[in-house]
Each structure stands twice: as C-alpha cells, then as structure tokens.
C-alpha cells in the first residue's frame, strides 16, 4: 500500500512530506527505543513510535526508513520537523495508541520488519 493509504487507515495528519504520499510501504517496526530500531528495523519500512525528538529522524535517516508515524497523538517538535524536511523523511501523526496503530496496519497487510528475534 502507499503512504497515502496508511494515512487514511490511521486517520493521520501529515506534518512533513505531503509530496511523498505515493511511497510504497510493505513493512513496519514499532518501538520507543531507538537502539532497538537500529538493531532490528529494515530499510524502506515505516517507523511507528511515541518519541518526537530529532533523534527519531536521525535514526530514520541512518536506516533508510520510509516514513515516521508518531502515535498517541504525539506531534513532532519544531527541530524535528526542520530536520525531517531537510532529510526528506515524511512524518505523520495518529491519535491511535501504538498497539492499535500496529494492529490496524497489520490487518491491512503491512507486516513486521522481522517476526521475532534470534532468527538470523
């Protein structure tokens, strides 16, 4: 599905990357811990998180993450938005909690970056 479909499913607001909603999305990773994202996330995935600081964007950039979804109604800080615009990483915000956000996307066909750890 596209990022635009993700936006509809999550009734999300787009903060950065209105022009990138055609991006194709297949996988996602949910975490509030950036080190876990660095350990397990795969390129071209969605990052679902409750963190809003610029390090979320940095982490996404380092990992080639396609877009960031902030959950529980969290909004990016000004510095976070600035960095995301500069690095061209879309940021969306949804009011759904992390569990609901993940569940709704999974039900619609998005799968996890990995199913469980220890498989490699």
């Amino acid at each position: 599905m596209t990022l635009d479909d993700v936006k509809d499913i999550l009734e999300a607001e787009v903060f950065v990357g209105q022009d990138q909603l055609k991006k194709e999305i297949k996988t996602a990773f949910s975490a509030d811990l950036m080190s876990d994202v660095l350990a397990f996330a795969k390129p071209e995935s969605l990052l679902l998180t409750g963190l809003t600081n610029p390090q979320v964007v940095r982490t996404a950039d380092i990992l080639d993450i396609s877009a960031i979804i902030m959950v529980r109604g969290k909004r990016p800080s000004e510095e976070t938005m600035k960095l995301a615009e500069q690095l061209k990483i879309p940021i969306l915000s949804t009011k759904y909690i992390l569990f609901e956000t993940s569940g709704r996307l999974h039900r619609s066909g998005i799968i996890g970056c990995i199913e469980k750890v220890g498989g490699d």
Binding site: S35, A39, P43, P54, Q55, I62
Partner: protein, 155 residues
C-alpha cells in the same frame, strides 16, 4: 574510490547527536559503496557518536573507506568503561535520563556496533577514555579469491 576523513564530536550536545553520522553516510554514498555497506557503516558510526555525546567530554570519529571496506575509529576523552565485558552485554547501561529520553541508553549501543561490523575492537581506560575500531567489509568482495583473509572472517 577512496575517502579519509576525521570529525570531532562534542560531548553533551544532544541536539547535534547524529550530525556527523549523517555526513559520513552521505560521503560513503557519494564514493559509490553499495547501499548495505553504507547502511551498516552509518549505524555503527551513529551508535559511536551517541556514545561520545552521552559519556564523554569530546571525541573524534575517523573514517577510512575504499572499495574493500569502511574502517571507523571512534576515540573519546571520557569516563572510560570499567568492565568491558559487562558493558558489551545487551541491556547493561549506565545512561542518564537525558540519554534515555532520546531513545537510547538501553544497553544496546555497543552490541549494535558489534552486530553490524565485521570486525570489532574496543579498549578503554577508566578516567581517560575509550577507543573503538570497527570494520565493515564491502560485501560484494567476500567471494573474491584474492582476498582470502576476508573470506576467513566470513566463514
């Protein structure tokens, strides 16, 4: 294809944490290394940078890249690590609240650095600082018969 560069990292500057790694990633991309090699090198740089910002007064990241590998050396003037074996364990951390707020400090940094590098070396002296050297091989070369020492590393 070649790149040699040194960057200084300011300890305690959480706002800037990651700037150096982004720049290094851009450089490695520019010299034409494959995506996966660039990504792994960027991850180990980023974790090193976060560590310097979190635990040191200042530090330096040196990158040396050619078509065979990316070598990253991170040196800092900081508190040092009393027990490296313990620090390498996933989940062990001495991070401050500020570090945790950024989404780090969960005891994954050093193990991530090891996870993504093909060669990993660390030494540290309490009260002096820490030195980490990581090598990320350009994976396309692993089957090249004229580099047997690298093939050994993989098998």
């Amino acid at each position: 294809m070649h790149c040699d560069k040194s960057f200084s990292v300011e300890g305690g500057n959480f706002q800037a944490a990651g700037n150096v790694s982004s720049e290094i990633k851009g450089l490695l991309k520019k010299i034409g290394l494959p995506k996966d090699t660039v990504r792994r090198a960027a991850i180990v740089c980023y974790e090193s940078e976060i560590n310097i910002v979190s635990y040191a007064k200042k530090g330096q990241i040196i990158v040396h890249a050619d078509d065979r590998s990316v070598q990253i050396e991170a040196t800092d003037e900081g508190s040092g690590i009393p027990d490296i074996e313990q620090a390498m364990k996933e989940g062990y951390s001495t991070a401050t609240a500020q570090v945790r707020e950024m989404g780090f400090g969960a005891g994954m940094g050093l193990s991530n650095m090891k996870r993504y590098s093909d060669d990993f070396f660390i030494s540290s002296e309490v009260g002096v600082g820490t030195y980490v050297k990581m090598v990320v091989f350009n994976l396309d070369l692993k089957l090249m018969p004229d580099h047997p020492q690298w093939v050994d590393t993989y098998t």
